[in-house]
Symmetry: C2
Subunit: 205 residues, 2 copies
């Protein structure tokens, strides 16, 4: 049976990369980790990109899987050599996504997923025009506050800061391609899966 | 429980229309009708826009459901009054999509679906910038020919013409947003459903 279809093949190979770059952002407490874990199970062909960090490993964290742990000097060298697609300093620690890791995943035809903040997402979009930016929002600020408090891990001051950060991030949704409101994990994962599947069918002009 | 989230509400109301406009195109014989029927079943909130035509009703066709049947004079008046989002003459008959019908569907928050040819799709995109154009392609030209022949309804001449039209349409895929290859109905419908769901989560800048 003939499978050849010259014109269609032309359009498929127009894509610079066989796999997509998916950026997932959303305020602390919205449930990104839970949702991303379930999404990877529900949607084959997704690889989360391992971030480089200067902070110390926490108990149970696996180097090369949870993070790539490097020294501050090595991190600075990677910045100087332009190896990061985006990086950020959070308090005293630095976190960065190396472009090489993203490219490696995309070249195999799998989609690379980054879980980064809105500022990082905007930097990625500037450098990778076909990156797909998804913002996961809470149903309301009150619900976000409730979720943060239910974790029992943050001080009052930390919660206030996280809520302020959330408002600032939500104000930048316009820079994003998709907005998913996380009412419940199952529905959110299904919406995210649909976005990933749809983007695989996108025609690039 | 508070549901108010001012910033989010602002972004939701930025959309000019609550519902989307989905355009489905693809060569004759690719299976658009089968796929679209199944899609409407699998994906609530989709309304196919009823086309106006000057041709005579065929046995079993329900006016106002399958088509709106109008005289050539009335069709011309609708053209003159700019009522059509797009229209086309096929042999001696005319077919047109009225903008009012599309708007009426979208205003209710449902998605309007048009099944039209690529030329019509391009016209729609010029007039409705946020229209979502999906092209359904056959796995190969050989498979398309096999499907056309298995219908036993076309003359040899008609099949040759349809295959030529198909090549011309495929050459214009670049104007489309999404490309779905119809290997089997079930997979195709699921891909289309994902595109429709994803577009509902799109942020408009």
């Amino acid at each position: 049976m003939g499978r050849k279809l010259d014109l269609l093949e032309i359009f498929r190979t127009r894509k610079q990369m066989p796999g997509n770059l998916i950026v997932l952002s959303g305020p602390s407490g919205v449930g990104k980790d839970t949702v991303l874990r379930a999404l990877k199970g529900a949607c084959p062909g997704l690889d989360q990109c391992v971030t480089f960090t200067t902070r110390q490993p926490r108990p149970g964290e696996v180097p090369g899987k949870d993070y790539n742990f490097v020294s501050a000097e090595e991190f600075q060298r990677m910045i100087d050599d332009g190896e990061f697609l985006e990086y950020a300093r959070v308090h005293l620690d630095s976190y960065g996504t190396p472009l090489a890791s993203v490219t490696k995943i995309r070249e195999t035809g799998r989609d690379a997923v980054l879980k980064i903040d809105v500022q990082g997402g905007c930097t990625v979009k500037e450098k990778v025009a076909d990156a797909v930016l998804i913002f996961v929002a809470p149903p309301s600020m009150e619900e976000l506050e409730r979720r943060l408090r239910s974790r029992y891990t943050d001080s009052e001051e930390a919660i206030t800061k996280r809520l302020n950060d959330a408002r600032n991030e939500i104000a930048q949704i316009q820079a994003y391609d998709f907005l998913v409101v996380n009412h419940d994990v199952e529905t959110t994962v299904e919406e995210l899966r649909c976005i990933v599947m749809a983007e695989r069918a996108r025609v690039l002009g």
